[in-house]
């Protein structure tokens, strides 16, 4: 599935209303967010499930937790658990030695031939554990040269480690950059460990910022793709991240992933314990929109864990515990041949889908040159957020009760655009109750905050009533239809019913 993200124009501006290209979900040629990238970059990311919304339906990735130590303290992290930025907070991954990690990767890549990417993201910082990280990479480059390697880092050691890093099969690096101003940094990072000393406050933050920026420049010089992650912390760096986005973009980062702070007291982080709040879904979208004018934004990140295995949004780690891996007998060469075959089949399938979509887009373009399904409506209608239950391929094809996540779209007279992904039961074990007696349905309804409709293939009577009571209109009328058309259809119904005038204002038809 491809998702339409406005890369260069702000929502509601005249540019976005007339922006060319196909707004259909099924259209692979123009609506993927990666379309804004130059060809040589697109080639590198098109099979990476974390970077391409389309690829994540076909390809799998895994993380191995080989890097326990960290050289900085972030206020959103509790070192008892995995890095809170690179995985879900409150999670402890199974720490592996490089040899164990390599065995696990080879086993997974043999059993899940869709695998294309291996990442090291923690549980601490990969470059604060250079020997463990690079030994893992060295063995994998030798034993599974078709698997791409990725690393996510806070950047403090990046300039020192860059030459060693570039020796391996690495196309992209993620740097977490939360600020470029040391005073703001001092409110996020209480200290860094630098040249064998602990350096506190703004002085420490300045060292970190300088190293991150230098590391970013050095990676770009060497032709490595850089994605920047930022954690949005209300009242600390929320406004500032617009500037961060401009700077990292001007230096050549290809993608910016702004993620919401997660700060719960029970995770024991400084922010959690002190009562620092997380951004609302609306605040996050507003910031992502503000940054989008300067940068390709990443909106489908699932914030997965440091030892995640499988397709994005799923975790098959339990199938590959150390004792199970130990018992597997793997033929490296046969597994690699199998992967090449499966990848070729996937690519043939994607090419076929793209041809169909291109043909459909061409047909639509004749009928509707602006490709805006809502372009005929009055321009001053308020935008509406809607949640869609889908299993991919750009259509409404998931039951409400089975949805593990919802894709959120915004409909307005400018058209339909993808806003982001909301987990249906984030941090919920899937039991009937979750946390302090809150039911799973309550959690889902809370995660849909700001949405006025939820579109799914089917929905039961009980959740229907509860959603309506929460002010969210359930809709099962668009089963198996393309997502954008469904969202546009519901918006049009709301217009006809007179629900779309600005608050207190009259409809001007």
């Amino acid at each position: 599935m491809e998702l339409k993200v406005l890369g260069q124009a702000k929502p509601g501006s005249s540019a976005s209303a007339n922006e060319g290209g196909c707004s259909k979900s099924a259209c692979g040629s123009t609506s993927d967010q990666m379309m804004h990238l130059p060809e040589h970059i697109r080639d590198k990311v098109r099979n990476h499930p974390c970077y391409s919304e389309d690829a994540h339906h076909y390809y799998a990735r895994m993380h191995v937790a080989v890097a326990p130590a960290c050289n900085i303290q972030c206020h959103y992290c509790n070192r008892k658990y995995d890095c809170a930025n690179e995985s879900r907070p409150g999670v402890v991954s199974e720490l592996l030695t490089p040899d164990q990690a390599v065995k696990k990767v080879i086993a997974v890549a043999a059993k899940i031939p869709q695998m294309t990417v291996l990442g090291i993201a923690g549980p601490g910082d990969p470059l604060a554990n250079p020997e463990r990280t690079f030994e893992t990479f060295r063995q994998l480059t030798e034993k599974a040269p078709d698997i791409k390697l990725c690393v996510s880092t806070n950047g403090l050691s990046l300039p020192q480690q860059i030459d060693e890093l570039c020796k391996h099969n690495i196309d992209h690096v993620t740097i977490t950059i939360n600020c470029v101003d040391p005073e703001i940094g001092a409110r996020i990072y209480p200290w860094v460990f630098w040249e064998n000393r602990r350096v506190r406050g703004a002085k420490g933050a300045k060292i970190l910022i300088d190293q991150q920026q230098k590391g970013l420049e050095m990676l770009i010089e060497r032709g490595i793709l850089v994605k920047v992650n930022s954690v949005m912390i209300p009242g600390v760096n929320d406004k500032h991240l617009v500037e961060v986005s401009k700077i990292v973009k001007s230096k050549g980062a290809f993608l910016h992933n702004v993620m919401p702070l997660i700060a719960e007291a029970e995770h024991g982080t400084f922010y959690g314990v002190m009562g620092q709040r997380s951004p609302t879904a609306g605040e996050l979208t507003e910031l992502q929109d503000a940054c989008a004018g300067d940068m390709n934004m990443m909106r489908h990140c699932r914030q997965c864990r440091a030892d995640a295995v499988g397709m994005l949004g799923e975790d098959r780690g339990a199938e590959f515990t150390l004792d199970k891996v130990e018992a597997m007998d793997i033929d490296y060469a046969a597994a690699m041949t199998k992967r090449a075959e499966i990848h070729a089949q996937i690519e043939a399938h994607r090419a076929e889908k793209k041809r169909e979509a291109d043909a459909e887009a061409a047909a639509n373009l004749t009928a509707n040159p602006t490709a805006n399904l809502l372009g005929d409506l009055p321009g001053d209608l308020r935008p509406v957020l809607m949640a869609v239950a889908t299993r991919g391929h750009g259509i409404v094809n998931e039951h409400f009760g089975h949805a593990k996540e919802f894709l959120v779209y915004e409909a307005s007279p400018s058209g339909v655009r993808f806003i982001g992904c909301r987990r249906a039961a984030q941090y919920c074990s899937g039991d009937d109750t979750c946390g302090e007696g809150e039911s799973k349905l309550d959690t889902i309804i809370r995660s849909l905050e700001g949405c006025e409709a939820v579109i799914c293939s089917k929905i039961g009577y009980a959740p229907w009533e509860r959603l309506e009571a929460a002010g969210i209109a359930p809709n099962g009328e668009y089963a198996m239809e393309p997502i954008e058309e469904a969202v546009a259809g519901v918006y049009r119904e709301m217009f006809v019913a007179g629900h779309l005038s600005k608050a207190g204002g009259e409809l001007r038809a």
Binding site: P68, N78, R79, A128, M274, Q276, R277
Partner: protein, 95 residues
């Protein structure tokens, strides 16, 4: 003269590779947390200006000197001294 680690340790591994005397061992063999071998620890005397384990440890009060006193005092790693804690909390909650 040797440091020790108490049960506030969260097994984060940060100290282990830094020790110039290889005196730190992981939570292997059933140990609940990392430990310093007192026969090997030199308190980094002659190697570094600051003892390395105490300089990277993220947990206040987890590393003790030979007299059993904490090397990282309360508030020294969060940047918020205990007497300012309430004020800081009010400020953070207003964000």
């Amino acid at each position: 003269m040797a440091f020790s680690i108490n049960d506030a340790c969260v097994n984060c591994w940060a100290c282990l590779p830094l020790c110039p005397s290889n005196a730190i061992s992981a939570n292997l063999d059933g140990a609940a947390h990392f430990r310093i071998d007192s026969s090997k620890c030199t308190e980094c005397e002659g190697d570094y200006a600051d003892p390395q384990c105490a300089a990277i440890c993220p947990i206040e009060g987890a590393i003790l000197n030979a007299a059993g006193e904490a090397l990282n005092l309360p508030g020294s790693l969060t940047g918020i001294p205990p007497e300012r804690l309430e004020e800081a909390m009010t400020e953070i909650q207003a964000r």
